[in-house]
């Protein structure tokens, strides 16, 4: 018997039946899309097109159209890459880590968080690929024997480890997401009336029958995938941090980087989930499933991970002094007081100071405020990567080489463009895919559903 304490808040509000859940979640797919959807997808796909245009211009002309220079040879490109990879952490954390921790509230948010993860990782991967200049030679970063001489990838380079780490992460996340979708596609297949849709969702559901044996296997596969995905949540951003931390550049080489990058990634990922879900629950009328309690839980994750990041910032700052190494100390003094001081303080304010307001229950359960904070955190985490990358590079060991970085319109265009592509993909997902794990949610209805909880309590007395 499964029992849940009366003091736990319900995760499904109102009186819902299994049939209601199916209806509520399949309805947006069956019905015509609201006008807002058309407006949003038009805007985001126009931005996406502009971004693709900038990418094509970059490929046609060369990486010189970016603002990089001899001293600052990594800037917005890698900042954007790390930012997107970081955002791509929430989905797998929710689906894998929270599954292992048996957090039932994950069921309302895992599907869209996983979709977001996949789109974010695609955006991330774009940057190193286009940074190569000759993208048609992108396959060179695979360890393939080649016909051009004894040219091999450098296995000692963390950049290559990144190729492995991110492609593994992407594959596992995609499989995890898709496996979860199969029973839900089958539900849609059985529900829709148009033969065209029936056929498409029938294909997507791989002929799922929903018998007991299939469900047993489904649960086993989910657990195994969660077991594989959990170390991946850690490894991906750890390897990304190795890109910097294995070097001997002050501000980059510090041992706390791997866990602190992971924490920062979860932090930014959850902020993006909030940004997306707060809009989606409203537009798609999912307030009974994505409740204030869900939003509060995610805000708690944000304050915990944000504070871990804060402890790491202060540790770095302290140890740079404690080390007694002149270059280390200078790197951090320069961050806080040098020409890029504004980016350092933007990072500190957005990531460490402002999330502390979530200690107040009133604020962490306030939807408009949460939405505002989610944007603040996303901005802060972009600045974090900018601070790490650009301020550490722009004043190197040789003062005669000191330089500033100025982004060009192509830098800006590609970054904004990826946001457009990301939102376009997400909107398509929200229109045609079940945005909640409807079959999984049914499994907690009678334990965590509001009316069932009231009944149980009534019964108890």
């Amino acid at each position: 018997m499964h029992s849940e304490s009366a003091i736990r808040q319900p995760l499904i509000l109102g009186h819902k039946t299994y049939h209601d859940i199916t209806n509520d979640i399949v309805a947006p797919i069956e019905n015509k899309a609201p006008r807002a959807w058309y407006v949003l997808i038009t805007i985001s796909s126009l931005i996406a097109l502009y971004g693709i245009g900038c990418i094509l211009y970059l490929i046609g002309t060369g990486v010189g159209v970016w603002g990089l220079n001899k001293t600052v040879d990594w800037a917005w490109d890698i900042t954007n890459f790390v930012w997107w990879v970081g955002i791509g952490h929430a989905g797998t954390l929710i689906s894998a880590v929270l599954l292992l921790f048996r957090q039932k509230w994950r069921m309302a948010v895992n599907r869209s968080a996983e979709a977001m993860t996949i789109f974010a990782v695609i955006m991330a991967f774009t940057f190193p690929v286009i940074h190569m200049g000759r993208v048609w030679m992108a396959y060179w970063f695979l360890p393939l024997p080649n016909t051009f001489g004894s040219l091999w990838v450098n296995f000692n380079s963390p950049l290559l480890w990144d190729v492995f780490a991110i492609s593994t992460y992407f594959t596992v996340s995609l499989v995890f997401w898709y496996i979860g979708l199969i029973p839900d596609f089958a539900t849609i297949r059985d529900k829709v009336t148009s033969p065209g849709m029936k056929r498409v969702y029938g294909l997507l559901s791989f002929g799922w029958t929903g018998n007991a044996k299939a469900w047993t296997r489904f649960e086993e596969v989910s657990l195994v995938l969660a077991g594989i995905a959990t170390p991946l949540v850690f490894s991906v951003h750890s390897v990304v941090s190795f890109d910097f931390a294995t070097s001997v550049i002050p501000g980059w080489h510090t041992t706390i980087f791997p866990p602190y990058f992971v924490s920062g990634a979860v932090f930014s990922g959850f902020a993006m989930v909030q940004t997306l879900l707060l809009v989606m629950r409203k537009v798609m009328k999912l307030e009974s499933y994505i409740t204030i309690k869900h939003i509060e839980y995610m805000n708690i994750v944000i304050i915990v991970t944000g504070s871990i990041v804060g402890v790491a910032y202060i540790t770095e700052l302290f140890i740079s002094w404690y080390s007694g190494v002149e270059y280390e100390s200078y790197a951090f003094i320069n961050r806080a007081t040098g020409p890029y001081w504004w980016s350092y303080w933007a990072m500190m304010t957005c990531n460490v100071i402002s999330p502390q307001v979530f200690w107040f229950k009133k604020l962490r359960t306030n939807l408009a405020f949460t939405f505002f904070m989610s944007i603040v955190v996303n901005i802060g985490m972009w600045f974090e990567r900018f601070v790490i990358i650009v301020t550490s590079l722009h004043r190197d060991y040789l003062p005669s080489a000191w330089n500033m970085f100025h982004p060009t319109w192509v830098d800006v265009g590609i970054f904004v463009g990826t946001i457009g592509i990301f939102f376009t993909l997400y909107l398509l997902f929200a229109r045609f895919f079940p945005v909640l794990a409807l079959n999984e949610i049914k499994s907690i209805l009678k334990i965590s559903g509001e009316s069932y909880k009231q009944q149980a309590q009534h019964h108890h007395h």
């Binding site: 931390a245 001997v248 041992t255 791997p258 007694g324």
Partner: protein, 402 residues
Amino acid sequence: MNFTFSKRARTISIALMAIGAAATVIGILGDHTDHHQRTWANLFVNGFFFFGIALGTLFFYALQNATETAWSVMVKRVYEGILGFLPIGAGVVVLCLAAGSLGLHHIWHWMDPRVTDPTNAEHYDALIAGKSAFLNLPFFWVRTIAYMATFILFARWFRKQSLALDELSGEALVKRHLLMYRRGALFLVLFAVFSSILAWDWLMSIDAHWFSTLFGWYVFSGMWVSAMVTAVVLVLYLRRKGYMPQVNNSHVHDMGKWVFAISFLWSYLWFSQFMLIWYANIPEEVTWFQSRIDHHPGLLWTMFFINFAVPMVLLMSRDAKRNPRFLIGVGAVIIVGHWLDVLQIVMPGALGHHFHGVGLLEVGMFLLFLGLLIHTVLTTLTKAPLTPVQHPYLEEAVHHSI
């Protein structure tokens, strides 16, 4: 049902202490280092390691409250039992630090006033002098007292409230539970700051030139694993003796999972710190690992193998985590592994070339403390019912099934 400290268990714990004490005395007679530095260093290694078990438990206890976890309510008295050792461990750590401050030994080289005196050409160390805004005795003691007072006060408060819950019901019960939830979160905030700084203060500053930003988290994860192992072994012992009949295999499985998971966390943090320092190979950083690899490779790699490979391979399967005998066996190995970890953190810096690995003194002191831990924890367990009678999550915890 209350736990009765059986005669047999009492004899075993006292015998452990006696054997340990005898070996320690013989070991001390053979300790020819200046100021009996080896004896002091051993006292500190064990004081810190066993204090770490209690502190890791306190952290986990606060975490369970702050995350509103139900299953662990079933075994919370066992965690409270381990907390009984916290003041003793703290006392030993403070004793070692005080002796160092008084110049009775030189484990913490920076405490010697000659080191920071620029007029003393022979002993002056510019690097350490540069850190003296942080590494100076008054500030150091303010910090140490702040951590210890916080830990002990919170541990006592949690225990008091936990016992008080048993007397309450209805609204009052929920209210008191929510107070523990909030204090749990408050403790985690303080712990997040203190756990790193105490590792710099007490362990990293033994090698005062060396620094690593990850060091605090690495030390913390070691305490956490040791706490998880101790708790599960205790629960298995109590179940075997017929206590806590409501603790089922699912509870044990979950406790086993924590040992498994935190062993991975520890391995991840250890490897991150090691790999980055090894890869960059910067002279001022690499010394710490270099001295351990050059002079104590057996200790270093055995320790890493035990703490990483053993739990990974042996505790991966579901059956392993539900097999009491097996879990106790693996737990015992992991505890030794983490003791070796603390040993290799402290000794090379504290004793230099006088450190020759594990000898009679090291083993003796370990057994002495192990006996003391067992005796203290089992005594604490007799003082309250092993299973809580009232808790908002009790029902959920009883029906725990995974």
